[in-house]
Subunit: 315 residues, 2 copies
């Protein structure tokens, strides 16, 4: 049965028709994340109609709509609880009413990090394993967990997805979440330039010549023995390693999936983190596998069928 | 229905008969934690017979035995998985066979931090709340969680109970678990003297005159404005605060229960930790309650009935 899937990112919105674990048609549009939800949803409806035409499927013949949202979500009611500046009026918007009115379809909504993990769990790097943690290293750090075959959500919907905000340095850098020394505040794209700028050796670093200051550039200069880049790369691996060990100690997974744009430099990231975890995680039962995501930025879209099925079982 | 309950600590073993949430009789014996399990179990059998006499109940008329063990346990099979030096041959001991042979009773075994939380959940500070984290500040730091009414155990039985070993300082002190900068390594009774000794102001501290160097002494000297004690107390509160925020971000509880010997100085500990958590935990739904344990060192004993009931439902 066909499903309409949407992954609402901070900069891009992906829309697709998915069936039986395959994407039949997809498109991406620029996010209007600072405009009213009314405008965003109008663009999304157009995108759904467009992928419907491509896949030769009428949207209203689909089973429902699954929406991945970059924020805290009440997955039972489908309401966005907090939008952290992206899509500011999303928390007051009745998304289910929109889906009914626009397409006559039921809607299921879930946090984007959780959706990426569900996608990898059902169709990607987590297939066959019911105890997973996923860490997405991007602008921020997205985390989600599946324990004993259940998606970890918690009483207020924020369990595990706040995992990028575990304190890895008490008294450390102030994070946008209000905590101190979160992994995300200690290293993530959002803070990397600021962290680099605070280092005395930054003024002599080749990193200054980069127009795009991201982890790809950081690891490239580190390989060229740029001292500032080398130190920052080591620092990042330590923070990520400490975070992954904490997540293993919290959720007891058999496998940790690493995702995000950074996985373009997978060899620079995956091996050092695996090595750190092998040395420092306390897992007397054996070794946690650290693996790269397989679905990349299609992971959340690939979770759409599972999420709708779950929603319909619950109702 | 009566249940035999045992809380096997590192220094004391508590044995009791429990029924309908009440302790009918109890005793405590010195732990033989460096002797073979055979000897420990013989003493325990005697203790069970003694509390049986006191409560006028024949042990073999009880429903079963619930055992709280200070280590990693497979709660499904009842085998101890790792003993961390305490009761070294416990992992190879068939405890269920002993319970059958000695009393003809079924046995359920669970980790001690988890048992303390189950006790508080059913009969103490956590009653009526299905989303709890408990942190026991003692020689080490014991952690356990209940999420959406389920005791958090995880694939290998180590979920949440490794919570004292979340990294709160990456690159920090080496912990006995193999990790760096665990909360337990950064402040706990096991490491406190060593941490104090590394401070230059320790040599002039009133703490040196204490025969018992524990948190009670630390907070007492801190109140007298001893600079070393003041700094160590502040440091400890920061570590505990950072840990509790991490646990809230991981498990999304409505309430955090603080337990352990340290709660004798509850006003010195509970208020500063609550204050830290109120400022730094990201909980847009409201405030996490931070409360002291109600059952103290009887908490694990009070979990006995629930654990046996659960075991029998599963079988």
């Amino acid at each position: 049965m066909n499903v309409l899937a949407c992954d609402m990112g901070g900069t891009r919105v992906k829309a697709a028709v998915v069936a039986e674990g395959r994407i039949l048609a997809r498109t991406a549009i620029a996010a209007l994340s600072h405009r009213p939800m009314r405008d965003c949803l109008a663009s999304l409806a157009d995108a759904f109609r467009q992928v419907g035409v491509e896949a030769a499927i009428r949207p209203d013949e689909c089973k429902g709509i699954a929406l991945s949202f970059p924020s805290l979500v009440d997955s039972t009611t489908g309401w966005v609880l907090d939008s952290y500046g992206k899509y500011p009026d999303a928390p007051g918007t009745d998304l289910a009413a929109w889906a009914r009115a626009e397409f006559g379809l039921p809607l299921a909504v879930e946090n984007d990090a959780r959706m990426a993990l569900i996608g990898e769990w059902r169709h990607g790097a987590g297939r066959g394993c019911d105890d997973l943690v996923m860490v997405t290293l991007g602008t921020g750090i997205g985390v989600a967990a599946v324990m004993e075959g259940r998606v970890v959500r918690g009483r207020h919907g924020q369990a595990a997805i706040m995992g990028g905000h575990l304190s890895v340095r008490y008294g450390g850098r102030e994070c946008s979440c209000g905590n101190l020394g979160c992994a995300e505040a200690e290293t993530s794209l959002a803070f990397l330039r600021e962290i680099a700028g605070a280092r005395p050796d930054f003024s002599a670093s080749g990193l200054l010549s980069e127009s795009e200051f991201d982890y790809e550039a950081l690891f490239r200069h580190a390989r060229m023995d740029d001292p500032c880049a080398r130190a920052l790369a080591d620092h990042s691996v330590q923070v990520w390693g400490a975070l992954v060990v904490s997540l293993i100690h919290a959720f007891d997974p058999a496998k940790v999936i690493l995702g995000g744009g950074i996985m373009a430099a997978a060899d620079q990231v995956l091996l050092p983190i695996s090595d750190y975890v092998n040395r420092h995680a306390h897992t007397p039962w054996g070794k946690v596998e650290i693996v790269p995501s397989q679905l990349g930025d299609a992971a959340a879209i690939m979770a759409a069928e599972w999420l709708l099925d779950e929603r319909m079982r619950v109702r």
